[in-house]
Structures are given as C-alpha cells and as structure tokens.
C-alpha cells in the first residue's frame, strides 16, 4: 500500500481533477478513434497520467516541460489548451500546431509546453537547451523533461545527464518507466533494468525512484527536487514506475497480444489513482469536478469537429521563420 503523504483536501481535489481530466480526454479520444475522425496515431497516457500531474503540480508558469510522442498528459497537466490539442488530433487549422504536428507533436509555447517529439530521446537534450537558457535568464525557471524507459537507452540521454550535471542546469529528468518500449520489456533491453537511478547518480545527477505509482509520492519527490533545482542545486532525476494500460499506439487494450498479460496490469489497475483519489473526495464535489470535465471535453470535441481544415497554402508556411 502506498504510504500516506501530507496532502490537503484542496491538493487532492486539484490533483484528482487534473488526473481525471487527462484520463477522460484519453478515453474519449479512444472512443472517437474508430470513427476515423482523428487522423493521427495516438499514444495514450492512460495509467500514466499521474506522473505528469504530480510533477506539473509543483511547477510555476515560467517553467517549461517537454516530452515524447506520448505527451497528452504532459501537455494538459502543464496547462496546454485542450481545444487546441483536440483540434490538432483532428488535423484542423485551430490545432495547437495548426494541423502540422498531430498527436505526436503537440506543444503550447504560451504555457511552457515545448513541442513534443516522436524520435525517441530527442527531447532530452532539447530540454537541456531550454534549461541552459533559463539558467542564463537567471529568473529561477526550471525545465522538466519527460521520457520513457526506452529513451534512456539512447546515447543522448547519458550525454545530457553529464552535460546537465557539468553545467549545473536547472533541469529535472523524469523517466516514466512503464517497463516497455513498444512490446519489448526492459529486461530484453537493459543489462541492469533496475539501475537507472544508479546510472544517473554515477553521472552526477542525484536520482530517486518512486515505485508505487502514488501521485503524491511522485509529487513529493518532484517538489523537493524542483525546490533544490530552483535554488541552483543542479539537475535531478526521478524514475517513476508506471504501467501503460492500452496498446503502445492506438485506442485499444492489447492483453490478447503476445507480449504481456492482463495479470501484469491488474495490480496497477487495482491501485488506479483515479479511483483511489476519487474515493478521498466528497462525492458531491467529485461529481461537480467530473461534470465540468465532461463538459469541457465535449466542448473540445465539438470545437475540433467544427474547426476548419488548414487552407492549402498552409502547406508552404512555416518552413522558414
């Protein structure tokens, strides 16, 4: 059982709202998907929402986050515009990338969501670049980079750890370790699957692992790390163990496939943070939160569906700034 963290009812409600909202966006996306209205590969965050929410909950508006193709949760948790995200998946002109990026490349610069990238690991040094700029600006801003366990196998991950430590960058590394890269379990990819923190430490980046999927445990770890980073303490690393409930890409479950079985997922589903946090909130308040979420999502879907497609000449804009 997760240990209890000091969290006020307001904290719990806020965090619940954020997680539930992402969960529902993902579920609605999955529901719409068979209609072929969303013409974009989708890598859903269902089961993993808690990490983005926990980390973004301790960030300030001037902080910047960046992630992978699996960034719906990061985008929404940091305050990215839901309408714009939904429209982006629909390929509409009102999308956050004007229909040029799709689900894998969402970003919302206005609220500090750097564009996400579909080449694994690429966002890691990129966010170190943001951190370098924030350091130069010297206003206490922090950059946070989210990535999967698979991304830690790319050379740029280690290179960035070293550089961030060397330059004392205000950068928080957040590894969402769901144990898989597509269908390959980490044990087939890493000699020491449990050594991510040891590696980060050896590289000079203090590391901490949160294994139990508890939102407030992640939030605690992130909160203290961010505090130290903001004070100039240099980069830190958090490994958060999570589980991906749906297939790697696409709307469905895939426990009938050959590579993992439902029993592996069940403990995670049983400890689902949406359910757990919901139970901690007064039912009436919770219902109000839920209703607002549903209304907001329904409006976003309507917005996306009714938005115009990009004009043909948009093909040629934004090639050069």
């Amino acid at each position: 059982m997760p240990k209890a963290f000091a969290a006020s009812p307001a904290d719990i409600e806020r965090v619940y709202r954020a997680i539930k909202r992402i969960r529902r966006v993902e579920e609605v996306t999955a529901d719409i998907y068979p209609s072929d209205k969303i013409k974009s590969p989708v890598h859903l965050a269902i089961g993993q929402e808690l990490v983005s929410v926990a980390v973004c909950d301790v960030l300030k508006p001037g902080d910047v986050v960046g992630g992978s193709y699996r960034s719906h949760a990061v985008f929404l948790a940091k305050g990215g515009d839901l309408n714009a995200m939904m429209a982006e998946m629909y390929g509409k002109d009102t999308g956050c990338c004007r229909g040029k990026g799709g689900s894998m490349h969402i970003g919302d610069a206005a609220v500090g969501v750097a564009g996400s990238s579909a080449v694994v690991g690429t966002q890691i040094p990129m966010m170190a670049g943001y951190a370098l700029a924030l350091k130069h600006q010297a206003k206490g801003g922090v950059a946070v980079v989210f990535f999967g366990d698979g991304a830690t196998e790319e050379g740029c991950f280690y290179e960035t750890l070293n550089f961030a430590a060397l330059m004392n960058l205000p950068l928080l590394f957040v590894c969402e370790n769901n144990g898989y890269a597509i269908h390959e379990p980490i044990a087939k990819r890493r000699a020491r699957p449990d050594a991510l923190c040891a590696i980060a430490n050896a590289m000079g980046v203090p590391a901490r692992r949160v294994a139990d999927g508890n939102t407030f445990a992640v939030r605690d770890a992130a909160g203290s790390a961010i505090e130290r980073i903001r004070k100039g303490g240099g980069p830190e690393f958090i490994e958060a163990q999570v589980y991906r409930w749906r297939e790697h890409v696409g709307p469905n479950e895939d426990f009938d496939q050959d590579y993992r079985c439902r029993s592996e997922a069940e403990p995670w589903m049983a400890n689902d943070e949406v359910t757990r946090l919901a139970a901690l909130i007064d039912p009436a308040i919770r219902a109000a939160i839920d209703d607002r979420i549903e209304a907001e999502i329904a409006a976003a879907v309507t917005f996306a569906e009714q938005s115009p497609p990009p004009k043909p000449e948009e093909l040629h804009t934004n090639v050069f700034a």
Binding site: G91, G99, K100, A118, R189, P310
Partner: protein, 355 residues
C-alpha cells in the same frame, strides 16, 4: 514485372520475409537484428517466423541505441558475419549516420581493402495517417551521395525479394529502402532464391512521348499516371531505377534521348536529391543536343504535415504526375488533369493504423 516467373503472387512484405528465410537458411553468418524484429508484430510481418526458425541468437531486438547498434553491425560484418540491421522508419537512420558515413562507407577503402562490410540496413518510409514530419522521410539521397554505400529502393514484391537477396550477398554496405504502402502490394515472385542485381533499371511501360522515372513507391504512382495518360493518347515510358547506387543512368539517358522529355518523381524532396542526380546524369551524357526537357516532382519543400488536407498536397500522385507530364508533352495545349474520380481509382490504398 518483367522476369521469369512462376505465376505465384506474393505480397511485398512476404517477399522480404522469404528472402530472409532463404538466405538465413543458406548462410549461417546472416542474422537479423534491430528494434522489435522479434516481437509479435515482427516489423509488419516482414520478419515473421524467423525467430521461431532461427532462434534468438540470429533474430534479436536491441536496446534503443541506433548509433551503437550500427557500429555493432559494422564490426560484426568486418568480422565475417552478414548482419541485417532493421529500422522501422528511415527517419531513425539519422542516428546511424556517423557509423554509416564515416565507417561503413569507408572501411574497405581507408583500411586498404583489409576488411569488408557486408551489411544490409533496412528501413521503411512511412506515409499517411498523420505520420508526420519525423516518420515519413525518404533520405536515400544522403546515402547515394557517399561513395562506398549501395542504395536500393524496390517498388514491387518481385524486386523486394530479388534485391534483398542481392543485398545480403553483397560484400558492401547496402541501404535497403522499403515503403510502408508497398507492403501489401502483390506481384509475381519466384519461390526459388533469385537476385535483382545492382545497376540495372527496369523499363516498366514503353512509350515515345516522355520518360518518367519513379523512385520507390513513386514508380508505382508513375505507372498509374502512365495509365491515365494513355487514356488521353500520351505514351509514357516509365522507368524504375530499382538500385539508386550504383545507378543505371544509361538506361534512363537512352530513353530520355529518344523521348526528349524527362520527368523524375522522387519519394523525397527534390533539392540535391536523387531526382537532381538523374537529371544531371542524363544531361551530362546526352549533351546539349537533342535538347531534353527535364522536370522533377517530389515531396513539397516542407516538413510533412499531419493534417490529411495538407498531407494530400505534400505528395505527388498519379493525377499530378499525369498533369505535369501532359503539359511537358503538349506545352501548346491547354492544361489537362485526369478527373478527380478517375484519379482516385488510380490511387494506392492509404495506410491507416496499426501504426
């Protein structure tokens, strides 16, 4: 597909898989590795059954470490093995550039012939369904540019098998470019192992009005365009170069010298690309006479957008190819394009998940 055939129809993806199977059977030094080659999706089926048949020593996934894995492939090749290294998207080969350009291409030369690098690097070009900027690139021209690398881009199942077997048997590094949309397409493929050797282009349709060269998937689009053109009395000679390095420029030049019109359709951007090479190569060979008119089509000069409304405009298609060819052949006439309905019929089935 002009070749001695058995009548057996095979899909491109299965033809690839058959090539691996037969070559691995023949030569124990051949092995297949790369991200996800051994999972249940088996690279869209192209490595299906290999793990079961040849075991995890010869069919294995890797960490997400394209740079080092390329070096591993090169070293293993120098040591006498014949690795087939797989990337599910050509875009990811950008992580392998250092090893491919600075080591694989140069090893035989800079070490004075002491070593060989019999390596095949497979990759796929993605298209449609919002694959977007980072999952859709055809980056073959970068590899064509570098002496020491061979590059091949088969456009049909027959060539997929024959080129793959030739690539595996080749003592040099071969960049093998597949196209996701070609995977389900069928053609006649002999059961016995055979090779489609480097340096020989294929004339797919004969015609006197214009030479159209199509690279990779664009060979298929060009053939469809030729059908549309034939309906309005324009006869296009469609050439599929198959191997891009070495490139059979003579066959193309001979055709263009005759038709005096050369339209090259690439599955990538035109700027400093394969289509530029083909036009320059033909012009150098043809000389100032007979006066050949040349044009290129390819990706729009932008990143690939995900929105289907824009993506549609990003690629050449049978309709736009036919319309361009028409204007080249009948410059005095008013422009023509096949009707949208007719064009649509000529279209390739578009890909839509699983991604």
């Amino acid at each position: 597909m002009s070749s001695p055939e058995t009548g057996r129809q095979l899909r491109y993806v299965d033809a690839l898989c058959e090539a691996f199977d037969q070559e691995m059977e023949r030569d124990p030094s051949v092995f297949v590795f790369g991200l996800d080659v051994d999972d249940h999706k088996s690279i869209q089926g192209s490595t299906k059954g290999l793990l079961q048949k040849f075991g995890p020593e010869r069919v294995f996934t890797t960490p997400l470490s394209e740079d080092a894995m390329t070096g591993v492939a090169i070293g293993a090749a120098m040591a006498g093995m014949r690795p087939i290294h797989v990337h599910i998207r050509m875009d990811f080969m950008m992580l392998a550039m250092n090893q491919l350009v600075n080591i694989a291409a140069k090893a035989h030369y800079m070490w004075g012939g002491q070593v060989k690098v019999p390596l095949v690097v497979r990759s796929m070009i993605g298209k449609s369904w919002g694959q977007g900027a980072q999952h859709s690139q055809g980056l073959h021209s970068m590899f064509m540019h570098v002496p020491g690398l061979k590059v091949v881009a088969p456009s049909n199942a027959h060539d997929a098998k024959g080129c793959m077997i030739a690539a595996i048997r080749d003592d040099n590094p071969v960049v093998f470019m597949e196209h996701r949309l070609l995977y389900p397409t069928q053609s006649e493929v002999a059961l016995e192992p055979f090779t489609v050797e480097p340096g020989k282009a294929r004339i797919c349709t004969h015609g006197d009005d214009i030479t159209i060269v199509g690279i990779s998937n664009m060979a298929q689009e060009a053939i469809r365009a030729a059908e549309l053109l034939a309906e309005v009395g324009v006869h296009a000679e469609v050439i599929d170069p198959i191997w891009l390095a070495p490139l059979d420029i003579e066959t193309i030049a001979a055709s263009a010298r005759r038709t005096r019109r050369l339209l090259v359709i690439d599955n990538s951007w035109t700027m400093a690309g394969a289509s530029a090479e083909i036009i320059a190569g033909v012009m150098e060979r043809a000389g100032p006479q007979p006066g050949i008119q040349a044009e290129r089509m390819g990706f729009s000069p932008s990143a690939c957008p995900t929105s289907p409304w824009l993506e549609e405009l990003f690629y050449p298609n049978p309709g736009t190819i036919a319309a361009t060819a028409w204007t080249m052949v009948r410059p005095g006439d008013k422009p023509w394009a096949p009707s949208p309905e007719r064009t649509k019929l000529a279209y390739q089935v578009q890909f839509k998940g699983p991604f």
